[in-house]
Amino acid sequence: MRLRLGVAGLLAFAAVGYAQQVGNLDAPPAKPKSYVVYAAEQQSVSAGKRSVLELHFRVVDGFHVNSHTPKSELLIPTRIELQPAAGVKADAIEYPAGTSYSFSFDPTEKLDVYSGDFTVKLPVVAEAGTHTVDGTLRYQACDHAACYPPKSLPLQVIFTAK
C-alpha cells in the first residue's frame, strides 16, 4: 500500500514537473525591467549651507547608457529631472564625464557612455529637518549589438539637514 502511494506520488510529482516545463517553454522570456539601478542612501548635510548630495547609480553589467553629453545630437543623453521640494534649494546637477566607447562593428564612431558605477552630484541648500526630493533618471541603454528604448527610473533623494 505504501509502495503504491509512493509510486503514485512520484508519478504526480513527475507530471507536475513536466507540466511546468511545458509551461516554461510557452512562457515569454523574462525581460530586465531596468538597465540602471539607483542605490538610495540616507545622507546628512549642514542646514543652511551649500552642500553636495551624491546619487549613486549602477549600469547593469553588459550594458551602457549614453552620458549626459553624448557625441551626437541624435543620441539621448542621461539626465535627471527633480521635483521641487519644500525647504530645499537645488543648484544645477553635476554629471560625471563619460568614458569613450565604440561598438565592435563600427570602431570609427566614438560614443561617450556610462557603464558600471557612476555618481551624479546634487548641490543643495536645505533648511533643518528631513527632506525627500523626488525625481526621475531618464536614460537610453544599449548592449554590444542592440539598443533599448529610452526608459525612466523613478528615484527619491532622502537626506537630513542638521
Binding site: P29, P32, C142, A145
Partner: protein, 223 residues
C-alpha cells in the same frame, strides 16, 4: 537442355532489370540534387553576439535573441503607414513578393550600421522581387531627424513613420523591446525569419536568400 536455356534467359532478364533499376535511381538522384541546388540557402553558423537566426541554440532570456522567436511561422500583421514624403504604403502592396520589414530608430547605433547593407541588398536582389521597408520607431524624433539619418546612411528604400500600433503588432503590448528588429516576410505574407539586434552582413544575406526562396502555404495560428 531446355530447362538450362530457360534458367539462362531468366538470369539475363534479371540482370537487365537490375541494371535498369540502378540507372533509373541514379537519374532520379541527379534530378533531386539539381532541384536542391536551385533552392539552396546558405546557413551561417551562429556567432556569440550576433543576431539570432532560428537555430536550435537556447538564447539567454535576458537578451534580444530570446525575443526573436515570437513571429516566425505566423502571418505578418498588416499595416498602412506614411513615408517621409507623405505617401501611404501598405504591406499588402507587396503581396506575392518577399519583404524585409526593419524597425530602427535615430538613437540606435547598431541600426545605422546595417541600413547601408540593406540598401546594397535591395539593389542586388531587386530582380528577385525583394522589397525593404524601414520603419522608424522614434517617439520623440521629428520627421527631419529621421530624414537626416536616412540620408546619412544612404538608403533609398521607403522609410515609414510608425503609428504605435505597428510596434505592438510586431513587438507585443509594450512595442519593440529591442532595436534593430527585422522580419523577413515571404511571398505568402508569412514571417519566415525574425532577428533582434545586429547580425553580420552574411547572416542578413542568408535570411534574404531564405525569404526569397520561401513560398510555403501560411501555417495556422497566424495573425
Amino acid at each position: 537442355m531446355k530447362r538450362s536455356g530457360l534458367v539462362l534467359s531468366v538470369m539475363v532478364v534479371g540482370v537487365a532489370l537490375l541494371l535498369w533499376a540502378g540507372w533509373h535511381n541514379l537519374r532520379e538522384r541527379k534530378l533531386a540534387m539539381r532541384q536542391a541546388q536551385e533552392n539552396h540557402v546558405v546557413l551561417v553558423p551562429e556567432k556569440s553576439g550576433a543576431a539570432t537566426s532560428g537555430s536550435a541554440m537556447q538564447p539567454d532570456p535576458q537578451s534580444p535573441e530570446a525575443e526573436a522567436t515570437q513571429m516566425r511561422g505566423k502571418v505578418a500583421p498588416a499595416f498602412t503607414l506614411v513615408t517621409l514624403d507623405g505617401k501611404k504604403v501598405s504591406l499588402s502592396d507587396f503581396k506575392g513578393r518577399p519583404v524585409l520589414v526593419n524597425f530602427w530608430a535615430t538613437w540606435c547605433g547598431p541600426c545605422k550600421v546595417e541600413m547601408p547593407w540593406f540598401e546594397e541588398f535591395q539593389k542586388q536582389y531587386a530582380s528577385q522581387g525583394l522589397e525593404i521597408l524601414g520603419l522608424a520607431d522614434d517617439v520623440d524624433a521629428g520627421k527631419d531627424a529621421i530624414a537626416k539619418v536616412a540620408q546619412k546612411t544612404g538608403v533609398t528604400y521607403p522609410i515609414l513613420l510608425t503609428d504605435g500600433k505597428v510596434q505592438k503588432a510586431y513587438g507585443g503590448p509594450d512595442g519593440m523591446d529591442y532595436l534593430p528588429m527585422s522580419f523577413y516576410v515571404d511571398k505568402n505574407g508569412v514571417v519566415v525569419e525574425e532577428t533582434a539586434g545586429l547580425g553580420s552582413k552574411d547572416e542578413i544575406e542568408a535570411h534574404i536568400k531564405k525569404v526569397i526562396a520561401s513560398g510555403a502555404a501560411p501555417s495556422a495560428g497566424g495573425q
